[in-house]
Structure formats: structure tokens, C-alpha cells
Symmetry: D2
Subunit: 439 residues, 4 copies
């Protein structure tokens, strides 16, 4: 085990995608297959029972199976052999009946993916809840909006959190859809015709799918990998969403901005004063790892004929890695938001440090149109050159004074009065998340 | 213009994503904005009319606008300036009222994307229809199934086409969903608060969206780019699906396989005999270009605060390129399938060249279980070593002869009798496509 | 033409990779081929002259050639046909003699790449010179070092620029190597045997290469694309280097940091006060576009047998795009550094805003080892909790006072006295760049 | 441990990049640092000795260190703490003196990378030797050249292997360069100024580098990651080269081509007759995994200021994964070539199956120019339509007969007489490899 196995995963997701789980899920497919075929009278019932009884990973030497896969090319070959041996002479003949390696490997992966998606969705909802709380609590915590990392016009921290929340709500919905559409059986035999089962193949498929709680797809999909690509995309956009939030947090935690801090920031091996946004940084790293990994599953869609020669095998590594990276990103953003220290005073202070420039748009709007824009532009230049505030510059400009009284100017240049639909938008985000959660 | 602009696009898609279209769509957003605000009494009606009247790209010097964007950073700056000038002194004051650059650029892109998605979906359905015809016509055209590019067990060319069709049906459905979810207005002002419109921002948004036939999103999404990433994904998986089909075609067209040929294959500058699968090859190239381009839109999700500094701008190039590449891939696969020459005799001949080895599974299934697998394995080795057929090898093996009579052997080893659920599966694919088309 | 063609390129690089240039370079290869063969007596001298005389792009209808390539698959087919026609009946027979399409297309691309690399290297050196000036001028301009975007220990802006410079020096050297290794002829005929030229192929190759100023490779490389991948990598790392610098600039230009500003910052369509780091932002966008594009040329190395079916064709789009993106990144970083406004006072001010915390390491080192680290850690906590400076906290701690006198403390906590080898390192970077430039 | 850890790596490379090795290499850096500082009198000699004595990974609980890294963010924090404890009260104070976490983590990774590059280069040379033997042994083994997977003109299998060899020679040279340029110390302290060591930092760097057998770079490179990107590139192009060879092998092993077979092909869980090109397929999978992973290290070059927040951490996972994938690709291609079964008779047979069409170019060349191309084109069409051979079609064409006698035609259309410079080119590849090996 190397550091990334710990650092860029969660214990739960690592368990779902361990070697042991991989074998266990494949054994479950073999068991379901035998039982379905017994129900249909294709194989003897006692053979099915004998097979099913052995479908427990603890009975197998997983590491040896993996070593044997090096030569065999597919894990099913040593696995089916070992399972047949354990099941005994007579029942052993019926192991893996009518199936091809890819049926078992793909369906096993589908089972792991379903479990992984459930884990992810649960944790992502929790992160959503944390965002919802921040959105509500900080509805009126005014801060600088920043475009291209320049102060633009004010918003509230609650609105920022609401945008994160809306992003999460949409991604939760994506995960749900991906889970539904991806929870399908793979069962077609070597060329996808189910020939080894005569005309009974689809009925077997129904029963196996039923046993495993999966859907039967319209067709086997050995070499049409859009479903796996969709799962990958779902994960990558979740990771990307976490990257967005983590990036905002890292930027807000900068020493010169200091508007948020992680409750449990990391230290430094040389600098006693440091409190690093460790969780957000790890989330960013994980998100990038996820993005690069996911790209394989699209560029890998070109599988050859009835089974991919390279593209399919690469999925065995890419998909588990992608789940681990994504889980890490979600976990770490969750950890960063838990106990996030939000410094409202500092937010206000940063806002005020622009000498009112951040309120330039408000004044321009009041003055109206292109002319207003130009007048305020001139005032802004004087702010910069003369070291005065925008309020002072505006008050000093006759053309502005004509239109806006000093009293109005004070109100006009107060960030708290220039928040537009902020409140409403926060409500909409909360509502959408609640609607999503109720499903 | 360079060769790739022609070669890796279609004229229709190039038109949707031309510089002229970009400007035109943005002008439509400006017009809709002015008109909505006039309806609400925010700006004078005659100003709105004057503005809308100028919102025609042919009135603008597009190249100059682009040149000015180099310094301005965003196309809206020179565009709004030019539009205001054209609209005249008084109305010009109300151009772009309450909006930020990104509102107009993003919504313009959404309009282009919607048009591009429509184009793609239409052409993809046509490719689906071509696959459906092949699936039906070649239901019983037996050919070798190939896993890892080795002959496996037989299937029919109809089933292969049906799998392509199922893939296309799923992608058509994805495009539809992506279109629905992506057809949303961007409108939030500089920090997403709609502050410049006081409390009326959301109402303006409703009217503008209505004008443009778009949905109003729950929140502005300036820096939450999952929607654009989803569009990219939809395209990339369409391109990947085309890559899958094109790859199969290129492999089937190999001189040594020669089971299909393009109706209009390309020639060679040096070899008079060549008939290259040009369309399929260009589709593969386009699919790969699409995949690499799409990856940018996930890795680009980490936008900073209220506007991305780099990630957003990269979308301006990546998304149009992605549309063009994907359109090319779809177009080229369509062209390859149009008039595709399917050589059924050669398919059968290739199947027979394995000396019956491709029927090994059928025999093993008949003999039953692991033992059958072993017995047939021995027979296969003798086929390879002694240059006899599997039928001969099987007939010569007493243990096999005991179970299977020569008559049964003949039937058993006939590929046409080993097609399992092929027919049923083809029907399912046709049905799913029909259901999809009816929507 | 769309906006990205202007925005994410430079006029010079666009010219090198225009359609016209593409055709012109290919014509130069055809001309060199004919002339070489005439010198060897393989084709008549007057035929070679007649051919060479027509090898001027202005004689061709480039757009039509491109249109015809859609069906032909390769540009050489219409090009050779048109050239042969123009050259006249008798000489036309000798056009493209013994060559295959890929020979001419690849060699043409090599010529374009060489020109592009020269352009890039020249501009990159200029950017290096700008960094060198900043490094020297700001040797002692103290600023905060930042790790994980947290203030760490001080450095100078000169050292930061020196690190940019060292990065550029290394990349200039990479570009030079890539240019040398990539400036090779492609010439092998259809299967790389040069069969059409009997035993004279290599001699022809020598003469053609000589004519074009290229090296003859040990072997034709139609399907071994490492050279093109190396060119792509060289470009991608140049773009990545520009991304690094641009990212630093964007971060330093943040409103709350404000240590640098672009001389010609971009404005905003809605906010009169904004001065965006437009050049740096565009450089970042271009760098990301370059990175994604370059990845294609590695994943594209799997070309089939003697000619890639998809991977090769994708290069036609990817490589020119990559050159344009990289040129843009270099150009934009150059523009950002030209007239960069460096606010030394603000740098010092930001440094001081940490209440001395940034000097924690200096004090810990003076106190020694783990104990020092712990003592200073305690002092830092008091700085945070009590709102005092580190100097005050240290002075108040008896254990520290025992070791460090108040006078020493003042010196110790002065950033200008804690710069270690900064000066030396800057000299080393300047020296390495100078050595690089002298080559 | 999951299957990919076994399947997409080699035991040797997994050992180099195990968690244990990671910690061990970092401890070696700490030891070298202490010893260097003792030599310079910066820390007491006995402290250095006490520290160095503890720098053995078997004394540490690696898993616990990794767990603690989750909170700490960097492995050095728990590692330095544990090492200081083990070293004892007094010496413990001097552990990690003047260094920052990244110094130790990066230099540790450099040490691992160096070892990994050595492993790779050794194995890659062996693969080169296998190609050299094939090139020489099969110099005259005629086979079909294939462009766009269509038979083009003949070549020999020896020439194909020689092209693989040339590719490998170039990549061996790249690995060597990357190893040299990447074997550099990272040592700069928190902001790269070496401030904690006063003016002695560079001297310490020299001694530490000396101890570890590394070069001292001109400047610390904490946030300038081109060196790591170059290592990644070296690996990715090696993997890409393996992908090229593996792809050729998979294509040649197709049932319908059957020109090569792996000595130890993989079986199938359902089809007794299958002999899959397992090694080549795994190599392809590994090559693709490598390509996607490498792309991270370019897109990751945008590190922030003095330490990357996300990009750096992602390297911890990406670089080891990349080494493992690449090692797997090399190993698997080596295994595929070992005992590769080359079926020269089948190669000839496939060549002959084109009814002589593959010799079309030879005839066209003999006839000369565009006219010859046209005449032969007509003959080719008759071959296809009338089912005759090219020789028959040519003999039947008066215009051809006029120029070429039947006797000449026989020689002309014999592939063995149309190999051009094949022999010479093979010699050049062998020579280049030999020259490379002598270094």
C-alpha cells in the first residue's frame, strides 16, 4: 500500500473497490447465474446450491487468483476454475454455464459501482446539507463578489454557498440517474447472442437480474461502453463540482483574504504559524486525478467488435480509481465545510478596502446607461489617483451631485443595499435541494 | 481557413458555430433583454425597439469586433459599445442594461449549443435508421463474432448493427436530455445577484428566457459549469459511439477480412488498387479530437469565485470545436453506412476458415460443463496440429462420439444453428429505437 | 473565422499554420522531390523544372483542394492531380514520383513545425528577457512567499521572477532540442521500403532532405509518431510554463493582494472600476487548451501497421491547434510582463499584515530544533488570539527572551534579513539564461 | 490490494513505488541532510549520526504515518516527528533542519523516479534486443504492408520489427536524458530562499546532493514542475511506443490475419479454442492508462506561487501510477515478443490473396507517371470485377503488354523483388540500436 491509496480515497470507498470485493461481487454473479438456471431446470438444483454455497470470497485465495490472472488475461478463468473445484466434481461442471468472462466481470463491476454510487450520493447529500446551512446562516453576510479574481460587486456568503448547493443538487440528481441507468446486467455470452443457452438466454437474464436487483438491458453491451462512460462522467462532474468549491475555499483562505479557515487546518514541517486549508487542497488534488482518469472512459469507447482489446481492460483500473478519487474529493470538501470558520467581519473589511470602488456599478446604474458608466469611470480613476473614496469622488463631481443627493449617495454606496435578488435566489437553491432530498 | 476546418466539421455545424453566428446569438440576447425590460417599464419602449432593430450581425464588422476583443478580454465590450453607437444616443444608454458580459456570452453560447444539438440529434437519428435497416436486413447474415479480435462464436451482422443501433438510441436520448437541461438562460449580473435591477431581476429573467425559448435556472451559474460539462459529455459520448462503429467498420474493411467496404472509398496517391475506408477513418480521427476536447470541460470546472479566470475563456474555443468534431464523426459514420457494401459470402467464408473452431463452444456446451470444455479443448488442439476440421476431430474422439451422433454433430457445428437469442435481441433494438423516435 | 481563431493565436503563428501555408509547404516537398530525382537522372530535368515552377500556392485554389480532400481522404490526392495538370502532359507524369501521400503530408508538417518552433523560441526568449529584467530589478523587493496560498516566509519578487526565468531557460532548451530532433524528412513510400525507387531511395532521400534543410532519419517513421509526440510535449510544457507564470500573475493581481497589475488591463461591460489581468487570463485559457490538445498526440501513438487509421489524421488538426494555443500563451504572458506594474510598497504591506507571523520560521530557527518550533508555535497562537505581533509575543515569553535580546529580535524579525541565498539564486538564474541565449 | 495493482504493474516497479520505498527514500534524504550539515558544523556530528541511524523504514509504522498524513496534509509532518522521537531528545532537535516538507518529498520522489527509470531502461533495452533479433531473422520474410489497414505494397516482417526497434532506440535515449535531467535535488526551504540556513544553504545543497548522487539545480523548483512533466513525458512516450507495437501484434494475431501468435496466449472461460494475444492486450490497456495519467502532469504545471495547492499533491498519486503502467506495458510487450510465433507462410499467403493487387504500384512505377497509375487502375478494376489476377489483367492489356514482356511481368509482380531499400533500412536500425547500447 502506498500513500495515495490512503490519501486519495476513503476507507468506505476503498472497501467497496478492494480486491476482495471485486471477487465477492463476481462470485455473487456466478451464484445468481447458477440459481437462475436451476430455477429454469437448465442445471440441477443441487448443483446450483453447491455452487452458491462456495460463492464466498473468504474461501478463496484472492492474491493467487490475481497472480493467475496475469497469464490468463481475465480474472474469471482462475476464479471459475477454483469455484468449480470447490463446488465438487458434479456441480463444478455447471459453474459459469452459458456465460462469458465479460458477463461476470462487467456485472460484478456494475454491482460495485452501484454500491459506490450509493456511498457517494449519501455523502454528497451531507455536503449539500452543510452548504444549505451556510447558505441560510450567511444570507446577509456581505462579501465581495469577484470576477477574474477582481472585486466586482457585493454578494453574500450565503449566496455563494447557495450556488455551491445548487451545483450539488444537480450532481446528486445526476448520480441518481447514472445509478439507475448503470444498474444493468451484462449477459450475452461470448458474442452477445446467448447461444449457449439456446432460446432461453433472455429468460435466464431476467432471473439473474432479478436475483441481483439489476435491470435487463435491451441488448448486451460488451463493446458498447456508453453506460460505463456515463458513470465515469457522473463521477467526474461530482469531482469537478468539489473542485469548484475547494478552489473557492482555498482562495478565500489565502492569508491576504482570510475570509474562511478550515476548522482543522494542516500544519507545516518548518513554519509554526501555518494553518493550511488541507482538506480543500486534497480535494483539489483528488478532483484533478478524477478528471484525468475519467477521460479514459470516453476515449476508451472504441472497443473492437464483440470485446475490447485494451479499452475494456483499462476500465478495470480506471473505474475503481475514479470512484476512490471522487469519494476523496467529496469527503474532503465535507470535512472542510464542517466547522468552517467564516469571518464575516473580515469579509466586510475586504469589501471596504476598495475605497468604495466595488459599488461603482451601483452608482453607474443609478446614473443610467453608457453615460453613467463613463461618469463613474472617471470617478473611479480619481479614487485610484487621489486616494479618496468613491463616495468622496462622487460627491465632488458636480454632474453626479446634480442627480444624487449626499443622503442618497450614502445609501446607494452601501453594499447591503445592493444585493438585488440574493435572498430570493438563496431560497430557490434551498428549495431545489429540499425537493431533491425528498425523492 | 485550414484543412481541419473543412475536414473535421460539416458545413451546417460550421455555420452554427461561425463567428457570425456567435455575434448574432449574442445580439439576440441583447435584443431580448431590451425588449423584456421595455415590457416591464425598466427602459423606454422606443429605446428597446431602436436597440432590437440593430441586433443584426450584418450591421457589424465581426472581424473588427474580434480584434478589439484581444485587448478587451470579452467580446461584449466592443459589441455593446458598437451596438450602443448604432442604436443612437438616447437608446444606446439602455443597451446591456443590468447584465454582465458573461450573461450575454453564456446565453449566446447556449443558443448556439441548442441549435448544434438539434442538428446533431437529427443526423444521429438518420444514422440510427441506417443501422436499423442493416439490423433487419442482415438478421441472418452469419458472421464471426470476435473477442480480442479473435474469432469467438458466430453472430449475425444484423445483431452487430443492432448493437450499434442500441448505442445510438441511448445517445439520442442523452442528447435530448442534455438539450433540455442545457437550454437555460444565464442572467445574474456581475456577481450573480441581479443587483443592478433592484428586486426585479428574476422577473426580467423570466421574460428574457421566454423571448429566447429558454428555461430560467434556479440560480445563475456563471462559475458552476456542470451544465456545459454535461453538454460536452453528451457530445463526447456521441463521438465515442461513432468511434466504436467506425472502428468496427475499419476492422471489417481490412483486406484480410473484407466483409464490408465503403460505397465511396478513398484512393491513394501512389497505389492504384486501394479503396480506403475513408469515411470511417475520418470519423475515428474526429472522435478522438472530440474526446480530448471534451476533457477540458471537466478539468475546467474549477472556476474561481463568481467568474472563471482561464477556465471560462477556454470554453469559448473548446465547445465549438467539440461540436464540429462530433458533427463530423456522425456525418462520416452516416456516409460510411450509406451504401455500405456488405459481403455476406465473405462473412461466411471467414467463419469457415477456422476449420470449425469457432463452433467449439457449441460442442462444449452440448457435452456439458468443465469436462466438455476440456474434451473440446483437446479436439481444438488436434485441429491446429493435424490440419483437420473440428468436426473431424470430434468425430474421431470416442468420448465425444459416445454422446453426439454424426448427424447431430453436423447440426451442432453449423453456425446458423448457434445464434441463440439473436433474432429477439435485434427486435428489441429495433423496438427501442422506434420508441425513441416516436418521442 | 470564429473568435478563438483570433483570440487563442497570434497573427504570426496563424500565418505559419494557415491552409495556404500547409499547401505551400507540401508543394515545396514536391518540388524538392522532383529536383532531387532530376539530379539523379531518375526523371528528366525539364520535367523537374516544369514541376518546380508550378509549386507556388498562389497558383492553386486552396479551398477547392480542401473540399476535394473530403472525399479523397488525403490532401495529396487532389494536390498531386492539380500539380500534374498544371505542370503539363509530359512533366505531369513525374509529379510525386516514388512518394506516398504521407511522405509529403508529414514532411510538409515538419516544415511548418520548424517554422512554428522558431517563432515560439524567439518570443519565448523575449519573455525570458523580461523575466531577467524583473529578477534583477526586484532582487531586493521583499514580498511574502506563499505555500498553499498561505504566507510562508519572505522572498523577493526578483527571486520569483528568477524562478520563472529558470523555467523559461529550460523550456527554450527543450524547444531547441525538439526542433533539432523533429526536423527530419519523412520519405519511405507506401510501406516504408522506398520500393518504387529501386535501390536509389535513400540517395533520393538525402538529396530531398538537403534541399529542404532537414535531416534524414534512420528509418521512415510513418506509424512511429514519437517525434510528433515530442514536438507536442515541447509545446505543452512551454504552454504549461506560461500557465504557471500567468497563474502567479492572476493571483498577485487579486484585489486583496494587488501586488502587480497589468499595464493594459481589460475593462468590464458592467463595472467601471475593473482592471482585469486580461493577458494573464487569456494565457491561462490558452495553456489549458494546449494541454488538452497535446494529450492527443501521446494517446495517438498507437498507429496501425504502416499508417495510422484515425490517429494520423487527428494530428492534422491537433498539431496546428497546439502551435496556435502555445503561441498565444507565450504572447500573452509577454504582454502581461511588458509594463507590468509592480507595487513594492504593497508587497511590503501585505508582508507586514501577518503581524510578523511570516517571520515565525526565522525565530524558530534561531531558537533551534523541535523545541524552537514548539515555542514559536505557542507565540503564534498568542498572536492570533491576543491580536499582538509576533515580536510582542516573543518579547513577552521569558523562555524566548532568555535566548534572544530585544535588539536581536528586531533584526531577526525583519524580512529583509531573512532572505538566505536569494541573491545568489537570482544570479544563477540570470547566468543560466545568458548561457542559454549565447548558444 | 486490487487486481490492477498486480495486473498493471510489475513486481519490481511496484517495489520501487511501494509505500515502504517512499518512506525509505525520504528517510535517506533526511539522513543525507543531517550528515551534510554535520560536515559543515551546522549541527553536531553525534546528532547527525543518531538521526542517520534511525533512517531505516523498518523502524517506522508506515501505515500509521500514512493515516496521520490525512490530517497533516504532508507525509513529512508525521515522519519528521517520528524520526525526531526515535533519534532522541537532543539529536531530535536537528532533524529536518532548514528544510521544508517539499524538499524531502520531492527529493524522495526523485530518488524513486531514478530507480524506476533505471528499471525501465534496462527492460526496454531487452525489448529492443528482441526486436533486433526479429529484424535480422526476418529481413526477407515478405509480408503485406498495410496502410489504413488495407494491403498497400509489400515489406518484410524484419523491416516492421526494425521500425519498432528504431522507435525503442529513440525512447531509450529519451529515458536516459530524462533520467539525467530529472536527477536533481530539491532544496530551498519554505519559499525557496534557503533562509533558514543563512548564507550556507547552497553549500548544504551541494553536500546533500553529493550524498544522494544527484545534481544541484540552478534554482529550487518547488512550483516549476517541468522536470516532473518531462519525466512523465518520457514514460508516456515509452508507453505509447509499447502501445504501437502491441497494437500491431494484436492486429497481426487476428484470426483472419494470423501472421503472429503469442507463445503463451491466454484462454477463455467459455471458448476452448481461443488463444488470445493476452500480453499485447494488457500492454495496450497499460499504455492507455499511462497516457491519461501523464496528461495530469502537464495540466498540473500551473502551481501556485511557492507551492502548488492541488497540483503538487496530485503528483504523489500520478507519478507512481505512471511508472507502474509504463513498466507493465514494457514488460508485456517483452513477454509478447519472447517466443513470438511468426508464421512466414501465412504472411506470404495473405500477400497472395490480393490476386496481385498489392503489386499494383510496382507495375504503375514501371509504366511510369500518372498514365501508368491510370492504366494500372483500370487493370485493378478488372481484377476485382472479373476475378482474375493482376498479372492476368496486365497481360491482357495491350497497352501494358507493349511495354512489359510476360517474363518481365512475372518478375515485376513478385513481392520479393519489390522491397526497395528494406535491407539497408534494417541495417540502419540495427546500427542505431547498437550505437545506443554502447553508450
Amino acid at each position: 500500500m502506498d500513500l495515495p491509496d490512503v490519501l486519495f480515497s476513503t476507507p468506505e470507498m476503498s472497501a467497496v473497490f478492494s480486491g476482495t470485493s471485486r471477487v465477492q461481487r463476481m462470485l455473487e454473479v456466478e451464484a445468481a447465474l447458477a440459481q437462475a438456471q436451476a430455477r429454469m431446470g437448465i442445471i440441477p438444483s443441487d448443483a446450483a446450491e453447491a455452487i452458491a454455497a462456495q460463492c464466498r470470497v473468504e474461501l478463496f485465495d484472492v492474491e493467487r487468483l490475481f497472480e493467475e490472472t496475469l497469464a490468463a488475461g481475465v480474472l474469471t478463468i482462475p476464479l471459475v476454475r477454483a469455484l468449480a473445484e470447490k463446488a465438487g466434481e458434479a456441480p463444478g461442471r455447471y459453474v459459469h454455464w452459458g456465460a462469458t468472462s465479460q458477463d461476470v466481470i462487467d456485472t460484478g463491476m456494475v454491482l460495485q459501482a452501484r454500491e459506490g454510487l450509493d456511498l457517494l450520493e449519501r455523502r454528497l447529500r451531507e455536503v449539500g446539507t452543510a452548504c444549505a446551512e451556510l447558505a441560510d446562516r450567511h444570507r446577509r453576510t456581505v462579501m465581495a463578489g469577484r470576477t477574474l479574481l477582481q472585486q466586482a460587486v457585493p454578494l453574500t456568503f450565503g449566496l455563494k454557498a447557495a450556488r455551491w448547493l445548487a451545483l450539488i443538487s444537480r450532481r446528486v440528481s445526476t448520480l441518481g440517474r447514472v445509478r439507475r441507468q448503470g444498474s444493468v446486467l451484462q449477459f450475452g455470452g461470448a458474442s452477445g447472442t446467448l447461444a449457449a443457452l439456446g432460446g432461453e438466454g433472455l429468460q435466464v437474464a431476467e432471473l439473474v437480474a432479478d436475483e441481483l436487483g439489476l435491470e435487463v438491458p435491451e441488448l448486451p453491451w460488451h463493446a458498447e461502453r456508453d453506460r460505463m462512460a456515463d458513470v465515469a462522467w457522473g463521477l467526474a462532474t461530482v469531482a469537478g463540482a468539489m473542485g469548484k468549491i475547494a478552489h473557492d475555499l482555498v482562495l478565500l483562505a489565502q492569508s491576504e483574504v482570510a475570509e474562511v479557515g478550515e476548522g482543522q487546518g494542516g500544519g507545516s514541517s518548518s513554519m509554526p504559524q501555518k494553518r493550511n486549508p488541507t482538506n480543500a487542497v486534497q480535494a483539489l488534488a483528488a478532483a484533478r486525478l478524477a478528471g484525468a482518469t475519467a477521460s479514459l472512459l470516453v476515449s476508451g469507447m472504441e472497443h473492437e467488435h464483440e470485446r475490447g482489446a485494451g479499452g475494456w481492460q483499462a476500465e478495470w483500473a480506471a473505474l475503481p480509481a475514479l470512484f476512490r478519487y471522487t469519494a476523496c474529493a467529496v469527503e474532503r470538501v465535507g470535512a472542510a465545510l464542517d466547522g468552517l470558520q467564516v469571518d464575516a467581519a473580515r469579509m466586510r473589511q475586504n469589501l471596504d478596502r476598495s475605497d468604495g470602488l466595488i459599488m461603482a456599478e451601483a452608482l453607474a446604474v443609478r446614473l443610467g446607461g453608457r453615460d453613467g458608466h463613463r461618469l463613474v469611470g472617471e470617478a473611479c480613476r480619481r479614487v485610484a489617483e487621489e486616494g479618496i473614496t468613491l463616495r468622496e469622488a462622487a460627491a465632488a463631481d458636480e454632474r453626479i451631485r446634480e442627480v444624487v443627493s449626499p443622503q442618497e449617495l450614502a445609501v446607494l454606496l452601501d453594499p447591503e443595499h445592493y444585493l438585488g435578488s440574493t435572498d430570493l435566489l438563496i431560497d430557490r437553491a434551498l428549495e431545489a435541494f429540499r425537493a431533491q432530498s425528498d425523492r
